[in-house]
Structure formats: C-alpha cells, structure tokens
C-alpha cells in the first residue's frame, strides 16, 4: 500500500472519530443490543396460575381495580390479552387434556431488543432503555395507535374510553423500580420462582442449563432469544410453544429492518424525481417549441408556394392578355390595311 493511500485511510479514520455524532459500536450495520440489559425468564413448568403477579402488577402500577377479583379462579377459563387495566395476564392452557395438569403462561410486554412499537411511533414516544425496558412517554403521544398495530405480540392497549388524555398502556418491566434497585412487581410476588430477573445474557445461560439438565421436562428452545430479533423476556416450557398461545411464525427479523428498505427509497425519490420530472418538462416544452417552429415554417412554406403559384398565374394571365391584345392590335392593323387596300384597289378599278 502506498504511503499516500495509507495516509488517506488514516485521515478518514481520524475524521470519523472526531465527528460529534455517536458512532456505531458494531460493524456492518449489525447491532447486538445493550449487552448489560436486564430481562425476565418465565419458566412455565413452575407456574401454578395463582395470579399473584397480576395482583402485584396492578398494585405497583396503580392500575384500576379489575372487573373480577384476582382470587377468582373462573377468570382463567377464558384466554385473555393485556388491556388498559392489566399490563399482564396469566392464561391457562389444557394441553394435557381436561384431566391432565394445565400449563399456565404469563403474558406481558416482551421488551423487544428492536421494538416494533418504537420503530412505528412517529413521535418517538417509545424508547429502548439500556436497562432493557421499552418505556412509553405519554406526554408526546398523539394517539395514532400504530404501536398497537405494529406489535407482533399484541401487547399495547389503548384507553379508548378516555376523551381527553387517552394513553397507550403497557408493561414497563417496572423500569422505575429497577432503577431503584428493586425487582419488578410480578417477579417479586411470584411464590413459585417461575419468574427470574437478571441480566439477559445470564438468563439465556440459566435457561439453557435447565434444558440441558432436564431434557425430558423442557422443549429445546428458549423463546425470545431470537424471535423478532430477540426479546428481554424469555420463556421455556414443557409443551410445544404454539399450544400455549405463542406465535412461532414471527421469524427473527427485527422490526426496524422490515421498513428500512422502503425508508431508504425516500431520499432516492427526493433526489431523482425533481431532476427527472424537470428533464421531462424541458423535453416536452422543447418538443412543443420545435413543433411550433415546424408549424410556422410549414405555414410560411405554404404561403410562399401559394404566392409563387399566384404570381405564375398572374404572369400567365398578363401574358395571355398581352398576347390577345397584340393579336387584336395586329388584327385591327391588318384589317385597316386590307380596308385601305380595297379602297385604293376599288378606285383604280
């Protein structure tokens, strides 16, 4: 490599580092997320469906009282989703038949590593925090509900019955409590240790360890490790995930990647369209101008031709008239001469 080229590369690197903009930690546009972020591992094989987590969640988040009390077991006969009054719900799945032991699964925001809600929000109300939680800022929210549309897990809910200050409602992974060094409400309340709070990386190790130790008890998959680019809530179960209401067809593509191609075309259109359309405009104007010139030339030509024809006709007519006149004069002269000759001849005769 030549010295000048090396110098150029060095200069490039220096310029990059000196830039005031935050630089990319990972290369080639591949991002692995916040390495020290927290998460929760939900082991459904330990969950007994007591709904203590729902109760604790309701309390720590000051949510309105539920329609049916938390100790009412009949609630579990319906499959529920999160709503504006419940950031988390526990559902029962009778996967082992009506007589076998049911499986319970807790549902709440999965705190995606690349959140679809954040990607969708046009006012930037959602933030993925370095601690792992995806938090929502109601003070800027317009209420378009694109986040509800975008969430692959159908988690965010909306306060449809509030006229003035409706909010999007969803689990915060108890972000304020975690900041204080406390556990999330649901994790703290769980009597069965079905929920484990910790660093996401450690939780994956724990989950794998359990699966390795008890291969008969678990399905060999940690749900949330790769789904939609990875989530901070992770799940291990003994029953196939799809039988417990998990979507297993979500793929591993992070949400922002789905729209990045279309968004990348925006500046291309802005860049190329004005030049292209301006060019077409100039060409069409020019075409019209040339057409007009040709038309004008054709008209002029036609006028000239007509003029020439008219001139020729006039000339011919004039000549004809002249000829006729000459002939008439000649005839008249001849006649006069003849008459004169007759007269002279008659006199002599």
């Amino acid at each position: 490599m030549s010295t000048s080229r090396r110098k150029f590369l060095k200069w490039l690197t220096a310029a990059g580092a000196a830039s005031a903009l935050p630089s990319v930690a990972e290369g080639h546009g591949h991002f692995t997320g916040y390495s020290d972020s927290y998460g929760v591992l939900h082991d459904t094989t330990l969950c007994v469906g007591c709904r203590s987590c729902e109760k604790a969640c309701n309390e720590v988040n000051d949510l309105p009282a539920p329609d049916r009390p938390f100790d009412d077991p009949t609630v579990l006969s319906d499959v529920r989703r999160t709503d504006e009054k419940a950031y988390t719900v526990v559902n029962r799945y009778d996967v082992n038949g009506p007589s076998g032991s049911p499986v319970f699964r807790k549902l709440q925001c999965n705190h995606c590593k690349e959140p679809a809600c954040a990607s969708a929000c046009f006012v930037g109300a959602f933030t993925k925090t370095p601690e792992g939680a995806v938090v929502y800022d109601a003070s800027v929210c317009v209420g378009c509900r694109y986040c509800l549309m975008a969430c692959p897990f159908d988690i965010p809910a909306y306060e449809y019955n509030k006229a003035l200050e409706p909010r999007v409602m969803k689990c915060t992974m108890c972000h304020p409590r975690v900041a204080e060094g406390k556990l999330p409400g649901c994790v703290e309340a769980c009597p069965m240790e079905a929920l484990t709070f910790g660093k996401r990386d450690d939780l994956i190790t724990i989950a794998r360890e359990r699966i390795r130790k008890y291969p008969d008890r678990y399905i060999d998959h940690v749900y949330g490790e790769t789904e939609v680019g990875g989530t901070n809530w992770l799940y291990i179960t003994g029953a196939p995930f799809e039988t417990l209401g998990f979507r297993t067809d979500l793929g591993v593509t992070p949400a922002p990647e789905l729209t990045s191609g279309a968004l990348a075309m925006v500046p291309v259109v802005i860049g190329v369209w004005p030049a292209l359309l301006g060019g077409i405009y100039i060409m069409s104007q020019r075409k019209e101008k040339i057409a007009n010139q040709e038309k004008a030339a054709a008209v002029k030509d036609a006028i000239n031709t007509t003029q020439a024809k008219a001139d020729a006709a006039l000339k011919a007519a004039t000549e004809k008239a002249k000829n006729e006149k000459d002939k008439a004069v000649e005839k008249a002269v001849k006649k006069a001469l003849d008459d004169a000759a007759k007269q002279t001849g008659g006199g002599e005769a």
Partner: protein, 390 residues
C-alpha cells in the same frame, strides 16, 4: 346564444340541502359524543383492532382516490398534454378537498388530535414510515392549496397575488409529484411492519410499489368518474372548452389507466411469485384474492382497452367506477378484511354504525364544500379576465 350557460335554480330548501343538513346535524351530535366519551363511545375499535374504517376507508381510500390531483397536473404541466387542460382544475379541487377530508377524519381517529403537529414540532420519530406519511400529507395539502389558490384568487379578483402563484405552477407540480410518490407508496410501507398480522397474499415487500401504482389508476379513474358526475349535475357551469374536451379526457385517461392496470396486475403476480404464495390461492382467502385480481384489476384493464378501441365513452365511465370500487376493496382488504386474519371470528373488527356515521358526515361536508366552490368559482369554466392566461 346557444353556448351561453343556462342558469339552474338552486333553491335553499332543495332535496340535496335537506338531506345534507340532516347528515351534518347527526354528524355534529356524533362529534360531540366522540370528544366527550372517547373513541370507545362511538367505535368498535379495540386493542387488537386499533384501526377501523376511519383509517381503512377515509384515510387510505381517500388518499388513493385523491390521486387525480397529481396525476392530472403531471400529465398537463410536466408532460405537456394540453388537451387534458380542462381536467386540471376539477382534479386539483378534488385532490385538495379529498386530502382535507382525510385530515378532517383523522381528527376523529387519533386519540389527541390537538397534538398532530407534535411529530414535527416536539419529537421527530423519523424511524416511522408514518412520520414520512404525515410530513408528506401536510406538505402536499399545502401544495394543493397553493395549486388551487388561483381559482379562489380569480373569484376574489386578486390579480397580483394570482400572477405570483401561477408563476410557481411547474415548481408546485413537481413538488406535488415528489410528495405524492412518497406518501402514496408509504401508506403501503406502513403495513411492512405487520407481516404476522396481514395475510401473506396481501403482505409483500412490494407493498409500497403496489400502493403507488394503484394510486395512479385510482386517480385517473376518479377523474373520469367524477367528470361524468359533474357533467350530470354542473353542466350549466361548464364552458365550451370544458364540454368539448370531455370526451378527449375520458378516452385519454381511459387509455392511460388501462396501461397502469396492466402494469399493476403484472407486479401483483410478480409479488405472488416473490413470496412463493401460489399454494395459498386454493384457500378461501386465495379465492377472494383472485376476485380482486381478476375481477377488479384485469377486468377493468381489458374493459378500458375495449372502450378506448371502440371509442365507447359510456363503457369507459362505468369501468372507471368499477376500478374505483376495486381500489376501495384493495385498501379495505389490507386494513380490515385480511388484517388479523388469524384471530378467531369473535375477535375481529366490524364497524359500529356511528363510525360509519362519522365517515358519511365527513364525505357529506366534502361534497357540500365542493358544490359551494364549483357553483361560484372558475372550475369548469375559464374566468373571462384570464382566458388563455394559463
């Protein structure tokens, strides 16, 4: 003189005014309910179905059907197709009113409409496709307003300001096409985020292209369709140029639309191949997909072509209506019918009558304003002071 426009009496208590008045009264009552009781008081929207007909019909169909503004302006001002000149003003007016209605309907749909400037003024969520849609719609509404303003200025007699705006025509037209390309396609791109909820026959990485191309077909068809309606109801307001060029416009736009639909059909088939979704054609949704593709894309494409060859203006006009219907079906498929297709039937969305009521109210207000403008301002005729001036 036979060419002199006859004046049609439009009495205050006409059938139109009475019906429109009643709809507006109901609309005002629904508005009161919406803004005192929240979205839940007037709609069937829920957590799993956050977007209903206000987005599916008023916004997505409204924007697509208002595409006549940019397509006609581009044809006349950029491509210099002078024989379509008489179509520009009605198309711009429809575009302007169409987009105004979209924004009007949006005020009901979003939770806190007074915050609509927030994405630009307070916190810019630039990763969202919706940010781009919002920015483009806001800018394009301004462009349409400026493009329309010479009409109002002629009516008001403000010659100097009019001259300034008219000088900007080509700039505004190009900007209008740029903005329309962007937001028409981005409305489709918004659905790129929901591969798990939209049926795979309708979900495609090509969604933005589908939306853009079909918006051209929608715009051209709307110009034809609306032109035929205007000829029926506002013929007395039209001058000779407008009446004489009407058939040229129908034939020209019909030909254009036929080509656009052919291209649209092709890329839809390419999209099917791209996703390798052939096997889904045999399902119920597949049947519905084929109805849309064959009945509302390929059929109008052929009918337009036949109409143009046979110079059958009536056939083209009916085909325009059919195409418009097809675009509406396509948009409703994406937002409502094929969205959340995996949810059990009892969790699917069906609009509340009050949602439909508000939609009807919004459209009625649009028609009333359209009627007000075309019966007063130089839309279907040239203002005597500005003949040959543009």
């Amino acid at each position: 003189m036979a060419d002199e426009p006859m004046v049609v009496e439009r009495p205050l208590l006409s059938k139109f005014n009475v019906i429109a008045g009643l709809i507006i009264l109901v609309g005002l009552w629904l508005t009161f309910k919406r803004f005192t009781g929240g979205l839940g008081a007037v709609s069937n929207l829920d957590h799993s179905n956050p977007w209903g007909i206000w987005i599916g019909f008023d916004l997505l169909c409204g924007v697509a059907l208002a595409a006549g503004g940019y397509t006609t302006a581009a044809a006349v001002e950029i491509f210099n197709m002078k024989k379509f000149h008489a179509a520009v003003r009605p198309a711009i007016l429809t575009g302007f009113l169409g987009y105004s209605m979209v924004v009007f309907a949006l005020l009901y749909d979003v939770g806190r409409p007074w915050r609509l400037p927030y994405p630009f003024a307070v916190n810019q969520g630039v990763t969202s496709v919706m940010f781009e849609v919002g920015a483009c719609v806001a800018l394009y509404l301004t462009v349409l307003f400026l493009e329309f303003s010479p009409v109002a200025l002629e009516w008001l007699g403000a010659k100097k300001i009019r001259a300034v705006v008219v000088r900007l025509t080509i700039l505004l037209t190009i900007l209008g096409v740029v903005l329309s390309t962007l937001h028409q396609s981005s409305l489709g791109a918004m659905y790129l985020l929901v591969p798990s909820k939209l049926h795979p026959l309708w979900y495609s990485p090509y969604l933005p292209v589908f939306f853009f191309v079909s918006s051209i077909a929608a715009g051209l068809s709307m110009v034809i369709f609306e032109g035929s309606l205007s000829h029926r109801f506002f013929k007395d307001k039209m001058d000779d140029e407008h009446r004489k060029s009407a058939n040229d416009i129908v034939l020209g736009f019909g030909k254009g639309c036929s080509m656009v639909l052919a291209a649209y059909f092709a890329i839809k088939v390419f999209g099917l191949a791209l996703g390798n979704n052939w096997n889904l054609l045999g399902t119920g949704y597949g049947l519905w997909f084929m109805v849309e593709m064959l009945g509302f894309v390929l059929l109008p494409c052929l009918l337009y072509a036949i109409g143009v060859r046979e110079k059958n203006v009536t056939l083209i006009k009916w085909t325009a209506l059919w195409t418009v219907l097809g675009i509406v079906i396509n948009r409703l498929n994406i937002v409502l019918i094929c969205f959340n297709w995996q949810l059990p039937a009892d969790q699917r969305y069906f609009p509340h009558w009050m949602e439909i009521g508000i939609s009807v109210f919004v459209i009625t207000v649009g028609i009333v304003v359209f009627r007000f403008i075309v019966t007063r301002m130089p839309i279907f005729f040239e203002h005597p002071d500005y003949k040959e001036a543009h």
